[in-house]
Amino acid sequence: MTADSLRAYAVSTQDLRKACDALAHAFEHSDQLPEGTPYLGQQRAVDAIRFGIQMQRPGYNIYVLGPLGSHRHRLVEELVIERATTEGPPDDWCYVNNFADPERPSALSFPAGLGSAFRDDMRGLIEDMQSAIPAAFEGDDYRNQLKAIEEATQKEVESLWKSLDELASGEGIGVLQTPTGYVLAPLQDGKVIGDKEFDRLPETKRKEIQAAIQRLGEELQTRIEQMPKLRKQLRERVKALNRDVTAGAVSVLLNELKEKYQGMPKVSAYLDAAQQNIIDNAEDFQQPESPALPFMRRDSSQLLAQYEVNLLVDNLDKTSAPIVFEPNPSYPNIIGKIEHRAEMGALVTDFRMVRSGALLQANGGYLLLNIDRVLSRPFVWEALKQALMSNSVRIETPGESWGLVSTATLKPEPIPFDVKIILIGERWLYYLLSMYDREFDELFKVAADLEDDVDRSDENVEEYGRLIADRAKASELLPLNAAALRQVIEQRARQAQDGERLSMHMRSLDDLLIQSDYWARQRQSSLIEPQDIDEAIGQREHRLERTRSRIMDAIQRDVLLIDTSGSCVGQVNGLSVIDLGEFRYGHPVRITATTRIGTGEVVDIEREVELGGAIHSKGMLILSSALTARYSPETPLSLYGSVVFEQSYGGVEGDSASVAELCALLSSLARVPILQNLAVTGSLNQLGRVQVVGGVNEKIEGFFRVCKARGLDGSHGVIIPRDNVKHLMLRQEVIDAAAAEQFTVYAVKHVDEALSILTGCEAGQRDEAGKFPEGSVNGKVEQQLIRYATLRREFGEKAGKDEQE
């Protein structure tokens, strides 16, 4: 291959890095730039979010798809605030005692701010009741009425006994009291007679006495049986009196509240129920002087607690719809919980211990959640969907909602729920949920997909410059001078792995600016200049490059075998990228191929030992197919080839080495050596077309770093797919080396071009007769395959004869 024809594939230095020269606005530093347009490049996502938050229909909740660090939260918050401020605060929510069924507390709603007023009103009522009701019972009116009732009953009792006494004394019988009852005994001269006196009485008299005692005994029993009825009658009269007195005391207190809340039917009904409950339990408000046992003393605070108000959601201080972000979306934090307190060894609860979660705090507004955290907290996702589907929040323990707990506990009335839920998370989670959760699409109808990058048009570059200036101002950083700003923009194109696009990963932009600011301040500068950007990038790499330096060290010490000079049959320098999350780098890897006569197999050793990923295996199969289609369309492929990444002990994934692998195989077949001062990357289709790969900048720089360490001599270079040229955003040192003709980046469209550059020989094209030129690489490959086929046929025939013999 001639130098001229080789030069035709070389990428010009201008194309190695697309410089930023679009910032037309004249400025000295970034503070002079006007404020940028908000949401640069995210219009689709912004429109989706606005649509979602304005759409007042069921299921129009939002999933914001975007990577961590894209400032997706900030974007969502800004848009939600923009909307929420146009909406008034929603209702307050309270739980109150359900007097008919205390295990099912009732929910009451109030216009914003009135919930706390109601709570305070009820507290006032309780305080008033504490004094008003006992006072009513201590008043003369009550005492006089009570006394009258007791006296009336006493009179009835006395009347019964008096009539018995009269009856008995008329018969000469005395009624004696014992500690436990009554004894009827005959009297003589007013004294009880004993057995001797009795025996002296005449027979008839004795019989009369016994008959009288028998009769009076029955009378006595009748009266005794009337006693419980009289006691019950007394109790009922006292109870009725207590009710009247309590009703009088309470209605004065409650009427004012009823009037205040008369426009709220449910609240009015609650006040009626509370009033009735107080009246029904009037005796409870009278503290007994001394209980039978100390622990039986009724705590008046407990008695009055049933009229308290548990204010779950208080929007008193709010002027707009609530926006809630729950960073820890555990079940209690989202749904709410029912707390318990220990009481005499048992856990007890009541309506006052029901606590709201984020769903209720956001009710009538917006709830922002990280979907990865929602999914990683037990029971939360199902509970969230349940709330959305039922449009209500039912506060219960997860065990109860799953039917795992049978202990009696509270079942608070579900609270109507109207919240726009905005889930924020990675794309893959969205697609997983969409695929595997049938309810997901029904409940989250709006997908807001954030762009990872924007087109590097002149207009966008101008806007991006303003965005950088805005972010520097927002973080109170030093302003950037024009050159530094351009350099940041170029760096953002590199971050996007595309010279024609700009990364929208905002966290990495902020990190670059903040770290550049640090280095600028270190040198007492009032501006961030290009050297500070370089320093920030270099220092960051230095902090992260431990594994890269170990690989470089291994290559330099010939532990990891990479040749950068000479040539070798069946051996090529491939390029691989290591992605450590925050840091990506490339390095060369030796790929070797061996060939011999066989049955048409091309073995991927990585796959055989299960170190190759699916995409890598696909690349190998495409390679195998391309080989057959090109060189052996009409004869059986009688080849056994094997390809391996030498000294690779981890997994291999991706198809970006398929061009290199094919070239190694062809070199082995044709016995044509491959130049080791070159490396190649590119994926292959079945027709031999070289297709784009990822990480092209890192790959080129990886090989450049090795060659530079060994000494650049002008022969070194990397072959990349032609379609990857637009992605080039190489470092300045590579560009400088290219400008000095010390290092070359070649761009190819077809594997033949790569083969020609790598071998220094023409690959060769089929002529009109369908033959590759003799002596060309392809010609040698074809010849070798024909030879293998012939040999295989001969072997086959010989083996057939041997079997027949």
Partner: protein
């Protein structure tokens, strides 16, 4: 101070007699005792006036006790009368000792049959002026106390 020292002598202490029966409540009576004593030194003697009518009634073979609670009737024998007496004396004695201990007053307990006037005189002692009898109103006409109420002895009747 001097007066208190004088009052501390035993011969100057008040003698409080409480008349009780099987059916009366001690609570009201004891309240009157503490009001009467009012912190001064005193000795308390509980006089349990035994109702002998029970025993006479119990000697009759047909006597039955009708329960105050349910109206059921059961034989009222001499044994039952003795048991009631013993239980009542024991209960009242215990209550009295407890109340006296709380009030830090010495207490004695005497069981008097309703006909034993001589024993009653002995308990009252010579100096009637330093003796107070506290009795429930139901005992106003009790044969043992009727005479005392008419005498110079200071008597407090508790309703």
């Amino acid at each position: 101070m001097r007066k208190r020292e004088k009052m501390s002598k035993s011969e100057d202490s008040l003698r409080v007699l409480i008349a009780v029966t099987e059916t009366c409540s001690l609570t009201e009576l004891w309240r009157t005792v503490t009001q009467t004593v009012d912190g001064s030194r005193a000795e308390v003697v509980a006089l349990f006036l035994h109702d002998e009518r029970w025993h006479r009634a119990a000697s009759l073979p047909f006597t039955r006790e009708i329960s105050r609670v349910g109206g059921t009737a059961a034989d009222f024998t001499a044994q039952r009368a003795e048991q009631i007496l013993a239980d009542t004396v024991s209960r009242l004695q215990r209550q009295m000792q407890q109340l006296a201990a709380e009030a830090n007053l010495p207490v004695a307990f005497e069981v008097l049959p309703e006909s034993d006037q001589a024993r009653l005189k002995t308990v009252i002692g010579k100096d009637e002026n330093k003796c107070v009898l506290i009795a429930p109103s139901v005992l106003t006409h009790h044969p043992l106390l009727a005479g005392l109420i008419q005498s110079n002895l200071r008597v407090v009747i508790v309703e």
